[in-house]
Symmetry: C2
Subunit: 341 residues, 2 copies
Amino acid sequence: MARATIRDVAAHAGVSRQTVSNAFNDPDHLSAETLERVRRSVAALNYRPSNAARALSSARSRLVGVRVGGPAHLSVSNRDPLLNELVRAAGPLGYNVVLFDAQATDDSEITAFDELWQRRAVDGFLVYDTHPGDARPAWLTRHHVPFVAFGTPWGQARNQHVWIDVDGAAGLGRVVDHLVERGHRQIAFLGWPTDRAGGDARRRGWTSAMKRHGLGTALNLTAAADDIESAVAVASAVLSGSHATAVACASDVLATGVLLAAQQAGRIPGVDLAVTGYDDSVIARTSRPQLTSLHQPLDAVAAFAVAHIVGEVSGVPRAKPRSRLMTPTLIVRGSSSFPVR
Amino acid sequence: MARATIRDVAAHAGVSRQTVSNAFNDPDHLSAETLERVRRSVAALNYRPSNAARALSSARSRLVGVRVGGPAHLSVSNRDPLLNELVRAAGPLGYNVVLFDAQATDDSEITAFDELWQRRAVDGFLVYDTHPGDARPAWLTRHHVPFVAFGTPWGQARNQHVWIDVDGAAGLGRVVDHLVERGHRQIAFLGWPTDRAGGDARRRGWTSAMKRHGLGTALNLTAAADDIESAVAVASAVLSGSHATAVACASDVLATGVLLAAQQAGRIPGVDLAVTGYDDSVIARTSRPQLTSLHQPLDAVAAFAVAHIVGEVSGVPRAKPRSRLMTPTLIVRGSSSFPVR
DNA sequence: CTGAAAGCGCTTACAG
DNA sequence: CTGAAAGCGCTTACAG
């Protein structure tokens, strides 16, 4: 037997098709009895409105687009949990998340935006890993495409579009406080080159916290890339050439490199060297010792992003969009929990 | 200015709407000149067919559904790369991947299937982490929903539906061969309880390879769950109570637990103890020493799955669907590359 | 190879 | 609060 349509439900319940539609889209405008009658028919026929028909007539796909593919920083850390939280936040609002393929370059992603938006395949996008000079928010804004950026508008006007980010400066401040509390004074920072998303804020957080504690900022290090090898190279030098007792890193991946360099240098992380990461990724939980790291509230990020995009699409009247800066949570683990003697 | 419709393109190119439609869906049936003319108009107007209209009239969403959410084995290992490969395989066929939220239980996922399928929100599903008694393939088959299972139909008839899997038995055989080659003879296996997806095959592969080499299979271990703590508990016992020089594990997570237990027992993984994992996940590359592991050909899995689902939907006449068992690739790293003295 | 007609299954104003 | 009409933008047979 064929799938039930709105017509079948209307006949079964003895109401018009419009009333069935209202039962789904505007249930408050129906009398309790009518609504109940329709609900019973819907259940009896296991009816669900066709997504395609609904999308065509309402001009809403109820889909939010997110890029995957290409090398991405998040891919080794938090993209999977981010997608999880996005899907979880979208579900109750009747939305799903659609993935599309593009390289991790602005141009490649913008080409995909254009294609998907022209098809109205999605109602909006989540853009992550923003960076200085990012062309994506500008393009989306110019084309009136609903979106939220996960990441500060680095080096750009901060009120041009809606964004949400996790405060890396505050996070590194927490890390430094924690390390100082454990007795460390020679605390190095290992970050990325300047134009890497979020890296500058984390470095700034370390710098100002060090100053606040009256400590020097000479051990300010930069790995060539966010990978283990780059971290090892820089960390090896500082471990042999300084009296650093702690290394605060801009990512769990960099911290992994420091753990490796420490071992090669005969140091014992978690015993005579403290190491901290950022992301609280699976790496943090599986490394030995487990890594102290900063946990990002991805659930809140996802909820904010989905709510904004859906609100935008629904034309819900709202105040000027407010961007948000969340605070990460410090998760202390074995790599830094010991007290310095 | 409003978005261009097929009508605008037809007018611009001086052809009928049907011809524009053909240019997208059946370009071979158009004369070269006509096609070119339409293409120019499409480019001039930056026209793309509306996904919604297309889905409604063709009864195809061009979307493949995949579950995320809930605890999942893949979430700590290979779900992100699997999604990557799915999206990459789907793109060239005009498909995208849509994520939906459900718990990692058959019932929860089936409820989501029903909802999405009734809405025709997707053209089919990829189901992963199949397990003995899995209710999902049966439900999907019964409701004539196109799908591919990533995972063998454990303990069920093997020709009821299309599936693809990676041969865990062959993989563990490769691991044992490698370890024997390096001089190991006391090789333990650490796996999961029996009804865990794929675990039995990996164990079987170890058992038969050991026998093939004339080695004993007494060190056949089972962790209570696929987590570090469970692995540590079992591994600690075997490291102190046996002469094992190598532990082959059913996952990178379990291997991580063995590395930890070894450290606690004063053993040095990669020097006096070999450890191997399975999945070649990010953990394998970030652990110290790096983990020898089995890499699953997720690109081939994704391509197979997408091709089958799309083919099913397109009604392409095809031979009886053929399921496939792929062979994983052994990636030798520091955790097992040393020769036993 | 090209074109006019019908229809996919809803939602959106609008009238009662 | 409920109902009849129009229309969303395509694709699918079918006729020429």
